[in-house]
Symmetry: C2
Subunit: 401 residues, 2 copies
């Protein structure tokens, strides 16, 4: 009856959001979502920030500039400077979560059939956005040290595809693998971007959530070390994982020429992101509340990560393989010989959930992989969840005999 | 250096937002923006709603469902039922202002080259969105009784273009003309939609702001009177003009098959609109605050409209032609023989602003037309603004001798 555009003729929704229907089941323990822990929100600090923001009700209630409230942009440029990333106001755009930054960027840069590079495995909403934009996705494998930049160099030199528009990566505590690209690889990646003239799109929602190991500078901050490379980096950041997703405050740092076009796109997309939550975010940041909050949540996520890794080791021994991440929210695991989708069915029977790895692959999927998030459940639930996962595994193994 | 997609190779921003740079000038009186009056915001009522919403901090701070917070959708379905529009939950999508509803709908339905009908003159952000989607725009003229449906019937019968995907209209207190489509024309339009199988996209941000004349039912509510027509209506609504734009709360009512696809698009666009402001909106509506607020603002907008119309009549006599609207925020005017863009330059010199009509035309623009919004300035400023506009007109007339 209706004639839909090509990507919407028979579309499938987010494979992760599909699992949400099970979240409401009583007693369910979820390692599935990438949600931050609700009990770690700075409820009081945000309430105080909201009260201060409303002292200027008009700023909260009226339309705001498309590129973001000036007072928030001021705070965010300070935050980025603190992270070693000086940036101009016309390079920064406030977005409805960093997800919107990606959407705007793809609209401005990627035509149907254009080549886009992604790490593999990769964040499913990015894969979905690329599909809707009808990009040609070329995947680059990831190992324990993040994106395999040597492999990327080989691919680029092979001449088997057109000049790529961009490469999408979550270089620090990746979703889903938890891996962090080493400093050396970041420098090599910047050199490749300059040489082959593609944009590195650095999505950095988790960078502040380091609980062990040594900090690695962001790709955009390392651009200062590779001549001409800053023109080839776009950086996405967000308050969703470090403050609260309900603010829907993300931001993009990109060359001014690109930012200007993203602002024009945003004028027709939603005019502006909610000024009220932008004003709250600005007050929260100006108060120094984030600096006080971060050590508390990183310590807690560190304990949760340790609890999950210990529990998996204790329940599965060598049956389940994983690398322990140094930050973020995710453990990426493999159980040789299983199909994680079949395991999920048994897991749900046992009141535990995770995301089967196939959601994260654009091609050559690894059915034995799975993503476990330790962020949302409490320590006791993490331990119990690992036990249930073992029971589910035993049942799935029995099924397949 | 960068290769942008076709619509972004040399894009121009919103012609109205371009004017904002003058807003900060001391003493400027603006008839330009479509902003609601800041001094009419229900500052206390919204503060109370925000306090109640934060009694469930997790609902404000965590991610929410892509289609909207259930408690808000509950309130909005009640509101729509009160407006004579029963709708199911799977027909409703909460968006970041109704602007986002249009963006999602175009993505799902309009491919490059597809025919889209719009009233002319029309809302510029819609024209811009259609341009970015590379639609082929076919315009239908508007008169004092809204869209010229007879002319539309002739156009459709002419066979000079392919089956249109949709027709975009602001049928009640249109932006920019202030006109309202009559009941008879609405019924005729619904019949045409069924016959020619195109969607009527009814954008209704101002419908509640009636200060004189008799109510005309929305197109979607009249669909009950034309068999099969409800399948061909999409309705956009918003709290931006009746509560506060800073909430960024709009919603779409569309056939379930269309809504489902818009939800999938929204998953990749921004995951969800700000749950915090959604929760505030839900509390505000559940309290009955909107019903108490509306009579106050419609009375005030009525007085402002009257003040502008009287002042224009007194300053210009028959030189400036306009129809007095029965609601909304806009007066659409013509001054025979002038170029409104040249007039604007002189107006800015005299510290008064409006939007030249050309921004509202997709083709065959009328340079003598202009849009004046009476919503934001106070009564005294409206009267002074009209005097300044007359001075600007005299200067512009002298320029062109």
């Amino acid at each position: 009856m209706y004639e839909f555009t090509a990507p919407f003729q028979n579309p499938s929704g987010s494979p992760i959001r599909e699992l949400f229907k099970y979240l409401g089941e009583p007693g369910m323990i979820s390692f599935a979502g990438g949600y931050p822990a609700s009990d770690l929100f700075d409820v009081d600090g945000l309430q105080q920030a909201a009260a201060r923001a409303y002292q200027d009700p008009n700023c909260c209630l009226q339309y705001g500039p498309t590129d973001g409230l000036p007072r928030l942009k001021h705070e965010l440029t300070n935050l980025m400077a603190h992270r070693g990333v000086p940036c101009a106001l016309n390079e920064m755009l406030v977005t409805t979560g960093s997800q919107q930054g990606l959407d705007l960027l793809l609209r401005v840069l990627v035509s149907p059939g254009d080549v886009v590079l992604t790490e593999q495995p990769a964040y499913p909403a990015t894969l979905q956005a690329l599909k809707l934009q009808q990009a040609r996705v070329v995947t680059v494998p990831v190992d324990a040290h993040g994106l395999d930049v040597d492999r990327l160099a080989t691919l680029l030199a092979s001449g088997t595809f057109a000049r790529p528009k961009l490469l999408y990566t979550v270089p620090t505590f990746a979703n889903p693998t938890g891996a962090t690209i080493t400093r050396e690889r970041r420098i090599a990646l910047l050199r490749l971007a300059v040489q082959y003239r593609f944009l590195i799109v650095e999505d950095d929602p988790y960078g502040d959530l380091r609980f062990s190991g040594d900090a690695v500078p962001s790709i955009i901050s390392l651009a200062a070390e590779v001549e001409g490379s800053r023109d080839w980096v776009v950086h996405f950041a967000s308050l969703s994982k470090i403050v609260a997703p309900g603010l829907r405050v993300g931001w993009t740092i990109a060359p001014a020429e690109i930012t200007r076009r993203c602002v024009i796109a945003k004028q027709t997309v939603d005019l502006c992101s909610a000024p009220w939550t932008q004003a709250i975010a600005a007050e929260y940041l100006s108060d120094g509340a984030l600096e006080r909050h971060l050590p508390r949540i990183t310590a807690m996520y560190g304990r949760k990560c340790e609890a999950l890794c210990e529990a998996l080791r204790s329940q599965f021994g060598d049956t389940l393989q994983f690398h322990r991440p140094e930050g973020g929210m995710f453990v990426w695991a493999r159980i040789e010989g299983i199909d994680a989708s079949a395991l999920l069915q048994r897991a749900i029977d046992n009141k535990v959930m995770f995301v089967p790895g196939k959601a994260f692959f654009a091609d050559r999927l690894d059915p034995a992989s799975l993503r476990l998030s330790f962020a949302a459940p409490g320590i006791a639930d993490i331990e119990e969840g690992a036990k249930r996962l073992r029971r589910a595994y035993d049942m799935a193994a029995a099924d397949s005999v």
